[in-house]
Amino acid sequence: DPHERAFQERIDAGQKIEPKEWMSEGYRKTLIRQISQHAHSEIVGQLPEGNWITRAPTLERKAILLAKVQDEAGHGLYLYCAAETLGVSRDEMYEQLHSGKAKYSSIFNYPTLTWADIGAIGWLVDGAAIMNQVPLQRCSYGPYARAMVRICKEESFHQRQGFDILMKMVKGTPAQKAMVQDSLNRWWWPSLMMFGPSDDASVHSAQSMAWKIKQNSNDELRQKFVDQTVPQAEYLGLTVPDPDLKWNEEKGGYDFAEPDWEEFFNVIAGNGPCNAERLDARRKAWDDGAWFRDGLTAHAEKAAGRRAAAKIAAE
């Protein structure tokens, strides 16, 4: 297919693909899947953090957390818009989320049980997300790449805020420090799983790399994340819950154990601690809000009708 070939050549030449331009169906579908999954993750990701807004320990922390969750909703918005440029509507994407057809990042199926978890999410989860997202700023699809530039900037701000929460806590009382360690114990492995299984096990990786939708292998990014995070854990005075963790001078990085992929696939299959609750919360928000959306639509139609009538009367 000459279209296909020309398209791949543009990508290889580092050109950006824009919405109205020709693209292959596979490229379009893969992007829709990836961007909408990313958008859903931002939306569902409001829930575990939102769980602590009403219990934030100071007004300052409450304000910071509110701002962060607001940013996430904003990221969701950019990303849905980016996906819409590929010919899918936001309502269709919601439908896929609510029916369970579309996925979101599995990390959000873990519960936030203490205030330290809010710090850990910023530090580890946003940290891992950034690691995944930085290369996407150079992704071949223009709207996605541009959304990523803005998102990455905000995410790294969130990550610093998360780290700051934990800094305060580890310098605090023994109970606070224990809370942080407990939180690291629970979030460490799920964070490593955020990069997905080894690329050998991943069907879509090679094609996505060729399309420059994906730029690094899962294992590469995971290694980078561990190498960046372990010294931060040490700085916080925490113990990473991996007895196999060891600096490897030769490779210039850490050796670390394999995450429990059985758990990973279990959570993906819907058996995580919070899968049911997260999806129920989103479905309920959507269903309970139907009258609201219908009301706005009806008003817009009435208003348009009135404007049209006024125009006719004026003519």
């Binding site: 939102g50 807004i53 219990r55 320990p57 205030w115 605090g172 706005l296 008003h299 009435k302």
Partner: protein
């Protein structure tokens, strides 16, 4: 507003009381609004509500911060927010009403915003410079809140039959909690006399006007002015506040003296 000389200790107490009232309104309404986080009927609403809550929590920091300063006992805004029990809170009952459906949340916001807007507008001219400055900042935010809540009340009131009836039901239920905004006591009178705050009842005509115009456009029926609930301004709340505080204050109460 005219200024007059007053007894300093009584003045300080009255000022603390006023600042608690305005600060607690922002804190408790901010809390209620933030309960929606991630559960709103549209993504734009999630963003807008988080923004409103954020503004209100920011205002809380300023008002309660000043309250602590005026009190002079070394209490911070956080101390006041997290370490007082229910009977020490001074918010009006309206803001502690449970969220209900999204329409009730919006109606509560509109009824409050219209008053909050007028109050802050007047406070920009307060004879107390510190108050005038906070009001200046808050007024900008609240003008936007009012634009937004008024617009949504209109669109939903004049939307579908269902959205109309939900908005009317919310209005009917909340109406009896609006009277407290305009009630006045000796403290209000004293501060009004000193040109520090507007007399509460003086805000009523302006509020009536905003509400009447909005409801007309929204095709909603203004409820009759019947019995009005009161108590929050002097610390007698509804059973809801205790649960709000149990949740809000948990960490500060469970880990006394810890820094976060």
């Amino acid at each position: 507003m005219a200024t007059a000389a007053v007894d300093p200790a009584a003045h300080q107490a009255a000022l603390f009381e006023f600042l608690s009232r305005i600060g607690d309104n922002a804190l408790i309404l901010g809390h209620r609004v933030s309960e929606w986080c991630g559960h709103a009927p549209a993504l734009e609403e999630d963003i807008a509500l988080a923004n409103t809550a954020l503004d209100l929590i920011g205002q809380t920091q300023l008002w309660l911060g000043l309250a602590g300063e005026v009190e002079g006992k070394g209490r911070s805004a956080d101390d006041l927010a997290y370490l007082r029990d229910g009977y020490e809170f001074r918010n009006i009952l309206l803001v502690e009403r449970p969220n209900g459906d999204f329409g009730k949340t919006l109606m509560r916001q509109f009824l409050f915003d219209a008053w909050h807007y007028l109050l802050l507008k007047a406070l920009k001219g307060s004879s107390d410079q510190r108050i005038a400055e906070i009001a200046e900042k808050a007024f900008k935010e609240v003008s936007y809140h009012l634009d937004r809540s008024r617009d949504l009340v209109i669109r939903l009131g004049d939307g579908t039959a269902e959205s109309h009836s939900r908005m009317q039901a919310s209005l009917d239920e909340l109406w009896a909690f609006t009277g407290e905004m305009f009630m006045s006591d000796d403290l209000d009178a004293e501060l009004a006399e000193a040109g520090i705050i507007p007399a509460p009842q003086g805000l009523k005509p302006g509020w009536d006007q905003i509400v009447a115009d909005t409801l007309t456009e929204a095709t909603l029926r203004k409820p009759a002015d019947g019995y009005m609930h009161k108590g929050g301004r002097r610390g007698v709340h509804t059973e809801h506040l205790g649960f709000v505080l149990a949740e809000m204050q948990f960490l500060q109460r469970a880990y006394p003296g810890a820094t976060w």
